[in-house]
Amino acid sequence: MPVDPAATGAAAASPAGRAPAMQHRITLTINGTRRQMEVAPWTTLLDLLREEMELTGTKKGCDHGQCGACTVLLNGQRINSCLALAVTKDGAEVLTVEGLAAADGTLHPMQAAFVEHDAFQCGYCTPGQICSAVGLLKEGHARSAEEIRELMSGNLCRCGAYPNIVAAIEQAMQQAGVAAR
């Protein structure tokens, strides 16, 4: 069945030969809240979160899938939100760093482990690291420190907090009942 998403925006005045500015209505569940919104097709999930939703916890480090700072959980899986056009994710559930802590402010065990192990310095890659680590645990493919290192290599940290990041994840894994090492 054709699902040409409702193109609600009229073609904007644009120079000859240029594609018209079309807005598309999509629904996203962001950190548990279902929202309907209009997006242009060229808006990435990252820019939507940061610019439209003011959820700036998700970071833009390279905008090209080379650093992992923009990592969010999309339908439970970690992805680079900078390479995801929002319009293509209609109906998805998005979990960002802002949605990890409990409503009463209690930190998610991964967040708490990052604080305890000083697993960050400047903090800019941190939300992406934490979302990625949450995704990693969910995937269940990492059992050893070596595997954590490999499967966290999509998240660059220029401050070089890697050993502490691995320690934090090992702790969170143990708390979650996953045997590390």
């Binding site: 904007a12 005045a13 644009s14 120079p15 500015a21 808006t43 820019d47 940061r50 610019e51 003011e54 959820l55 700036t56 916890g57 998700t58 970071k59 833009k60 480090g61 390279c62 090209h64 080379q66 650093c67 700072a69 960002t96 760093v97 802002e98 990890l100 802590a101 930190l107 967040q111 708490a112 990052f114 604080v115 305890e116 000083d118 960050f120 310095q121 400047c122 903090g123 800019y124 890659c125 941190t126 939300p127 934490i130 954590i148 290192r149 490999e150 966290m152 290599s153 999509g154 998240n155 660059l156 940290c157 220029r158 401050c159 070089g160 907090a161 890697y162 050993p163 502490n164 990041i165």
Partner: protein, 745 residues
């Protein structure tokens, strides 16, 4: 010391940790305003020449575009070059964005598109058509070595090489053991994870609040007021969090100029964020070619050190980081000749990058020492001990403290150095050759004048404020610890405010001097509060502290108590009531002790030990273990201190093995301008890093006895790894990074 320290020296989690792990910490490009417009930079495609035409019509006609700024329509800004010189500018004529049609380096900003949204600006930026007239460029340092010159004007704060001492050439000629070689470290880019960004919030009447990625809010403020001729009161810079900088945020970068320019012209708020590619269009660690000659006697005692470095700089500024000076003080040697020259290439001006100069110079010196040890068949560690410098021969001063011997000893013990078999290629496991290498690190333990304010409320809450920055170094946390100790408070009762130009004057956060400078100022301000508080308490009627001096009391749990009888005490609130105030505010300024500075040289030292495993056939190198033993005075927070050193070591591993900005000299352009192809180390590259802090009593460098930690971790690391590679393979690689191709021969 009237108070016992409970926080100073204790491992404490970062006070800003919660903000950072929840995503609540706001960085420069994340502040917003109701009328925010977005700027996107168009960068030049050529390295040198002039713009003959710039067609912005299509861009201007694109939906949402507000204005396209180019050199043709930019507003007038300050006339004099000196107006563009920031706090740490090297000598020369600072780059002026959109100044005229001249292109002086590849990637230079040539236009700024401002639009209602980020996407609209990005879209329109691709529609700007620039026509260039090329001029011949030169970006290859090796082609201009003959034109190298001693910089005619020194960069403030950077000492030129010391005068030669003894007769190095003659001593070298006479030395029975000689090593002489050339060394090269590839240019590197800082690549902090947060791209450079500026958000200018414009208020009616022209008042600006600027959120800039900067290592010193006041540097941005003074640049903006000077370039745009604005009164200081109308420009406030707020940068509470900086997403890494490593030197890239020392100087205001062009996105600041462009954002402020656009904001003033459009009379609305503007944000300009650089793309990751554009992070390769300003300062970098300069291309530097070195030669080093070491002469020694048969016992390994250095007879001569000759070290020369030629570094690339831009056509318009003489960037200086000297590189060679540490070779005159790291070891005892009476015949030393150090030279540092510049040569101009058509790139942007290089920029201080984590321990500017030192990891380059120390890569040469420490590789040379390793070569010497090998030639003499002496344990490389023993060779360093035989040449231990008891004083700084560059200046003739004593070191303010130097527990490097202890660092060597403890580092070697932790590493297991004694089990090393010194012959190269003598350790292996399966297909892998194992190598153990070591090196010395040294870095200035500076202190700068700084001011801080402390405000204590009757409710027992303390705020300390200083315009410094926290670029991930832990400044918030250590200032909180120092302040809490000064008044006997819990850390939860103390707030540190930084990153705001309206706060008391601070130098930029750089040079590893922030803990010493800001820490001393904060402590002094808190001590002043303490004195005032005690004065009030003594004046109370029937005060139990009537005759007590500061030495007789302790500050604890919101009370001032007699040391001899803690049951006799006055609460902070009562003391303030007696003084008729509900808060006490004190501002203090601290500066290095001139007497001490004339007599002593303050340096931080490190002993770095590294293990590598090299696939013998394929050349692939892994760093499997690093022990870095640090002598850095008193450690305020072992937890964040360890992180600082680990970070420096990771930087050093990048320098040693993976990082290289590759110039296409025909195009005059850095080509791997992204972080898929510029290889920062990833998690899988980093294994065990063991950090040790040795006890070191420091009483001269600054009032709080600390030495900075932001830079020492990288110095020596690349050399230790290269030495380990030699030990593993018998191959001496003098050009970093040691990519696998260099080990295939």
């Amino acid at each position: 010391m009237p108070n016992s320290e409970t926080h100073f020296g204790a491992p404490r989690s970062r006070v800003d940790g919660r903000l950072k792990v929840t995503g609540a910490a706001k960085y420069a490009g994340e502040f917003t305003a109701p009328d925010l417009a977005h700027g996107y930079v168009v960068s030049s495609a050529i390295a040198k020449g002039r713009i003959t035409a710039i067609d912005t019509a299509a861009a201007e006609a694109a939906p949402g575009v507000l204005r396209v700024f180019t050199h043709e329509n930019r507003p007038t800004t300050a006339w004099l070059n000196s107006s563009y010189r920031d706090e740490v500018a090297p000598p020369g004529k600072p780059f002026r964005p959109l100044y005229d049609a001249e292109v002086v380096y590849s990637g230079q900003p040539v236009a700024l598109v401002v639009a209602e949204s980020f996407e609209a600006a990005r879209d329109a930026a691709a529609l700007v058509r620039v026509t260039y007239e090329h001029a011949p460029h030169e970006t290859n340092l090796r082609n201009v070595l003959a034109e190298a010159y001693v910089p005619p004007k020194e960069r403030p704060g950077i000492d030129p090489p010391p005068n030669p001492r003894g007769d190095a050439a003659a001593a070298y000629a006479a030395a029975p053991i000689k090593v002489e070689n050339g060394y090269h470290v590839a240019p590197e880019h800082h690549n902090p994870m947060e791209p450079h960004a500026t958000t200018v919030v414009w208020e009616a009447g022209g008042k600006l609040t600027i959120h800039d990625k900067i290592q010193g809010a006041q540097n941005t403020q003074s640049y903006v007021t000077s370039v745009f001729s604005l009164p200081k009161k109308d420009v406030r810079v707020i940068a509470p969090f900086v997403g890494g900088a490593f030197g890239s945020g020392l100087r205001p970068q062009y996105q600041l100029f462009l954002a402020v320019m656009a904001s003033l012209e459009l009379k609305r708020s503007v944000r300009v964020v650089l793309t990751r590619d554009q992070m390769f269009t300003f300062g970098y660690r300069p291309d530097t070619i070195q030669t080093l000659a070491l002469g020694a006697d048969r016992e390994g005692r250095l007879q001569a050190v000759m070290h020369e470095a030629i570094a690339g700089t831009s056509p318009f500024e003489d960037f200086q980081e000297v590189v060679v000076n540490w070779s005159g003080l790291a070891y005892h040697c009476d015949n030393v000749d150090l030279k540092y020259k510049l040569a101009k290439i058509d790139t942007y001006t290089p920029l201080d990058m984590r321990a500017p100069g030192a990891p380059l110079g120390m890569f040469a010196l420490e590789s040379g020492m390793d070569e010497l040890a090998h030639a003499l068949k002496i344990d490389p560690l023993e060779l360093r001990l035989r040449n231990y410098a008891e004083m700084d021969q560059n200046t003739g001063r004593q070191f303010s403290s130097k527990e490097l011997r202890a660092a060597y000893r403890l580092g070697a013990e932790r590493f297991g150095w004694a089990r090393r078999s010194h012959e190269p290629r003598s350790m292996r496991e399966g297909r892998e050759l194992i190598g153990w290498g070591m090196a010395t690190g040294v870095w200035e333990a500076g202190m700068q004048q700084a001011s801080a304010r402390a405000t204590l409320t009757a409710g027992g809450k303390l705020e300390v404020a200083i315009a410094t920055a926290d670029i991930g170094t832990g400044t918030y946390t250590i200032l909180t610890q120092i302040a809490a100790d000064a008044l006997g408070l819990r850390m939860e009762d103390v707030t540190a405010r930084i990153g705001d130009s309206a706060l008391p004057t601070s130098p930029i956060e750089g040079g590893s001097w922030t803990a010493a400078s800001a820490g001393s100022a904060v402590q002094a301000a808190c001590y002043a509060v303490r004195e005032t508080l005690l004065n009030y308490a003594r004046r109370m009627e029937n005060s139990p502290l009537a005759n007590a001096g500061l030495d007789h009391v302790v500050f604890t749990a919101g009370h001032i108590a007699l040391r001899s009888d803690p049951s006799r005490s006055v609460s902070f609130a009562d003391a303030m009531r007696a003084g008729g105030v509900d808060r006490i505010e004190q501002e203090e300024t601290t500066a290095p002790d001139k007497g001490n500075m004339a007599k002593f040289s303050p340096y931080t030292h490190a002993a770095v030990f590294a293990e590598v495993r090299v696939d013998e056939e394929l050349g692939a190198v892994r760093v499997t273990r690093v022990v870095d033993a640090i002598a850095a005075g008193r450690i305020i927070n072992p937890k964040t201190a360890r992180s600082q050193i680990i970070g420096g070591v990771v930087f050093g591993i990048g320098m040693a093995l993976t990082e290289e900005s590759m110039l296409d000299h025909r195009l005059g352009r850095f080509m791997n301008h992204n972080i898929a192809e510029y290889h920062l180390p990833v998690n899988a590259d980093i294994r065990e890093i063991d950090v040790l802090f040795v006890d070191e009593e420091e009483s001269k460098a600054n009032p709080i006895g600390v030495k900075g930690l932001g830079e020492i971790g990288i110095v020596g690391t690349a050399a230790a790894i290269a030495n380990a590679v030699f030990h593993a393979t018998g191959k001496r690689i003098r050009e970093l990074p040691i990519t696998l191709d260099k080990l295939l021969d």
